[in-house]
């Protein structure tokens, strides 16, 4: 219950404003090479390793169970290149892409969530709550329904939709500066309008497109192909390192715009590039697997807690997001077997109670 970031529990959520860097214990090892130096948080590294290992284990488990169970040893053998007749198709074509897309999308959502929550300085500022993923979905549905686009076209549509909705929400929330709660509420309102537009697109569409669009809109990992794997891992390979490079600016912005500018950050440019990377990560995640609810929202705070750091934990959030998505997908497949639920329902069942809990906690600390 007590926030690990804080000195006094009562002041929990304000701590990142009040605390100054010199009051924080400096942890981890500093790696220096000439004029280059970087601090490596040992605890964060450990957390990432454990989360990564867990994701791999759950992923293997997820590949082995199903209507046609395959022993884990056989799964490992198949992955290492010694497939049996059955396992090659089931593992290689059906279940492996599904797990990979799940982990990749979860990582993308997790990073995007961590970036936005830190920029907005509020856990409610994650892209799935403030309407960005809805915008990306609208873009993707439009390309499916109107242009009958390929997987690549759908990604482009999702990215454009995400960027436009982010811009619109930001501008609509602007009023002598952007306040966190106005941004969140404007985002919720925009989300409703965008969902209505999506529903309208679907009523106008051909039945074949409707099927393709609706399966995808529920945030499902069912029937993911290697195309989707490519989209999401390409996104991670390009945008992930960018996000990690921007961590430094993000930490400085967390001290307040004026302090950040004093520390040599070009505030406008830094914010813009962070928003761009965050929106792109969320949009490409949406393009690959649809809007999986609440992953971006829960990953950042969980990562912060695990790492026990006041900073935005972009990399640990990616690992948390991957683990959450893979576990949720396994649960969605197995809880009510043989019926498969879309993973988005499972994540909403986890995320919505967490949101309620967060609200009551913020209310108790008098923040809301």
């Amino acid at each position: 219950m007590t926030d690990t970031l804080t000195s006094t529990p009562n002041d929990a959520s304000r701590s990142d404003l009040v605390e100054r860097p010199e009051q924080l214990p400096i942890r981890g090892t500093v790696i220096r090479a000439g004029s280059f130096s970087v601090r490596l948080d040992t605890r964060a590294v450990w957390v990432c390793c454990v989360l990564g290992a867990l994701t791999v284990v759950i992923g293997l488990w997820s590949i082995s169970v199903g209507d046609f169970p395959i022993p884990i040893s056989e799964v490992v053998a198949t992955l290492l290149g010694n497939p049996t007749d059955d396992s090659e198709f089931i593992v290689g074509t059906l279940r492996l892409p599904r797990v990979l897309v799940g982990a990749g999308v979860g990582a993308a959502f997790g990073m995007s969530g961590a970036i936005f929550q830190s920029l907005v300085r509020n856990p409610l500022g994650s892209p799935d709550i403030i309407g960005f993923t809805a915008g990306a979905s609208l873009g993707a549905v439009t390309t499916i329904v109107v242009l009958d686009a390929s997987a690549f076209g759908v990604s482009v549509g999702a990215v454009l939709g995400g960027l436009i909705s982010a811009l619109a929400v930001y501008l609509l929330a602007w009023k002598r500066g952007v306040q966190a709660y106005r941004l969140v509420l404007v985002g919720i309102g925009a989300g409703f309008a965008i969902s209505a537009a999506i529903d309208y697109m679907i009523t106008r569409a051909e039945i074949y497109d409707v099927q393709r669009a609706t399966v995808w809109l529920t945030g499902s990992l069912n029937g993911r192909s290697w195309d989707d794997v490519r989209i999401v891992f390409l996104a991670l390979l390009v945008l992930g390192p960018l996000a990690i490079l921007m961590q430094r600016n993000l930490d400085r912005l967390d001290l307040g715009d004026d302090t950040a500018a004093g520390l040599g950050v070009d505030v406008g440019r830094a914010k813009l590039s962070l928003v761009l990377v965050g929106v792109l990560l969320a949009a490409l995640g949406v393009a690959a697997a649809g809007p999986i609810a609440f992953v971006a929202f829960v990953a950042g705070p969980i990562a912060r807690r695990l790492v026990s750091s006041p900073r935005a934990c972009i990399v640990p959030a990616a690992f948390v997001g991957a683990l959450v998505t893979v576990v949720a997908d396994l649960a969605a497949r197995r809880v009510l077997a043989p019926t498969e639920l879309p993973v988005g329902i499972m994540t909403a069942l986890i995320g919505a109670p967490y949101l309620l809990w967060l609200l009551s906690r913020q209310a108790r600390t008098g923040l809301l």
Binding site: A196, D199, P353, L359, S360
Partner: protein, 372 residues
């Protein structure tokens, strides 16, 4: 720096100079009383009611006359006045469009009044049965009824919808007002969004489990007035009527409550009783509306705000006017939805969300939201 302007209903010292005692007065909860000078005259209000009634009349005519099959006005009038059961056009008007119009009137009136009542009792300008998860609660209960008990008639569903709406409205208020201070608009809106997301996910899970439920639920879930059959309106009209009567009955006490709890008690209003009756009325109105037409959002948000601009904050005028305006608004949305996607139609729930989302943003952007 991090407190929202939204949560602060006090006039800001930089924007409003102190008007002195007797003109406006900060009550105990930081709300500002309206001044007598801003109260619209009785003539203006009566005129407003007449205009609204005319708007409802026009909406009914349009709803009867506009649709996938276009027909001359004279045919429409004939179909209502001198019905000929062998005439196809007459059949369309009498069997399809008339029940739909009646249902739209009832559901719109229920949602408009429920929205005004919710905004009054929570003193929260962002209150709406859809936004605060009440409709989602009723919808989940109805799906459970279809799935678990095999109930197919609206008269059976409506009881489940009441239970769902009642539990959800109490839950969201408790969740939103837990902790320090009163339930602020932001807290309630967020608690409602979270509750709605949770209930929606549960609803989806049930419908995916059971193909038969999904089939029944598919069109109902979007919020639609079409294809409901002729008897649906008859099955909910009594409940909506009771809800409206209760709502108008507590209007006077809601006016007192708007002055702050202590002032209201001093004026002889029983606060707990007022809230209980209001919740019962909201439950009846929302439950009936959801059971009959599915969850339709934003009518309860948009309508009372528009009505308040003309009628002022007096609940005794606001509630009936919101009921009338809600009926007209829903019928216009439904008719527009039929025109936009000919020969198919856009469900009315989609139309109201498309209009309501932007209105919600405008409300959020206002620094000082409308005084209730």
């Amino acid at each position: 720096m991090r407190t929202s302007v939204l949560t602060d209903q006090r006039p800001h010292s930089d924007s409003v100079t102190d008007p002195g005692p007797g003109v406006t007065d900060d009550t105990d909860d930081g709300r500002v009383e309206w001044t007598t000078s801003s109260r619209p005259s009785a003539a203006r209000r009566s005129m407003g009611i007449v205009l609204l009634a005319a708007a409802v009349g026009l909406a009914v005519l349009l709803s009867l006359a506009v649709g996938a099959k276009s027909m001359p006005w004279s045919t429409v009038v004939d179909a209502v006045m001198s019905y000929d059961s062998t005439n196809t056009d007459h059949l369309i008007v009498r069997e399809l469009r008339l029940p739909r119009t009646v249902l739209g009137l009832l559901v719109g009136a229920a949602l408009g009044a429920a929205g005004a009542l919710m905004q009054g009792v929570t003193r929260n300008p962002l209150a709406d049965p859809g936004l605060l998860g009440v409709n989602a609660g009723a919808a989940f209960a109805v799906v459970l009824a279809i799935w678990g008990f095999g109930i197919t008639s609206v008269s059976g569903m409506v009881w489940f919808a009441f239970v769902g709406a009642g539990i959800a409205s109490v839950a969201v208020y408790v969740l939103g007002s837990a902790g320090r201070g009163n339930a602020t608009p932001v807290r309630l809106a967020l608690a409602g969004a979270a509750l709605a997301a949770l209930l929606f996910a549960l609803t989806r899970a049930v419908t995916l489990l059971d193909q038969a439920t999904l089939d029944q639920f598919r069109f109902w879930a979007v919020g639609s007035l079409g294809g409901r059959g002729t008897d649906v309106a008859g099955q909910v009209v009594v409940f909506i009527a009771i809800g409206l009567v209760l709502a108008i009955g507590v209007a006077r006490h809601l006016n007192a409550l708007a002055l702050g709890e202590e002032t209201a008690t001093a004026l002889g209003t029983k606060i707990a009783a007022t809230r209980t009756v209001s919740v019962i009325a909201i439950t009846l109105l929302c439950g009936s509306a959801v059971a009959a037409a599915g969850p339709i959002g934003f009518v309860g948000l948009v309508v009372p705000h528009a009505v308040r601009a003309w009628f002022g904050p007096d609940q005794r005028w606001l509630l009936p006017a919101s009921a009338l305006a809600g009926a007209a608004f829903l019928l216009y949305c439904d008719t527009l939805g039929r025109v936009l996607a000919r020969p198919g139609e856009v469900q009315v729930g989609i139309m109201t969300a498309a209009i309501g989302g932007p209105v919600f943003i405008v409300l959020v952007r206002r620094t000082r939201m409308a005084q209730l």
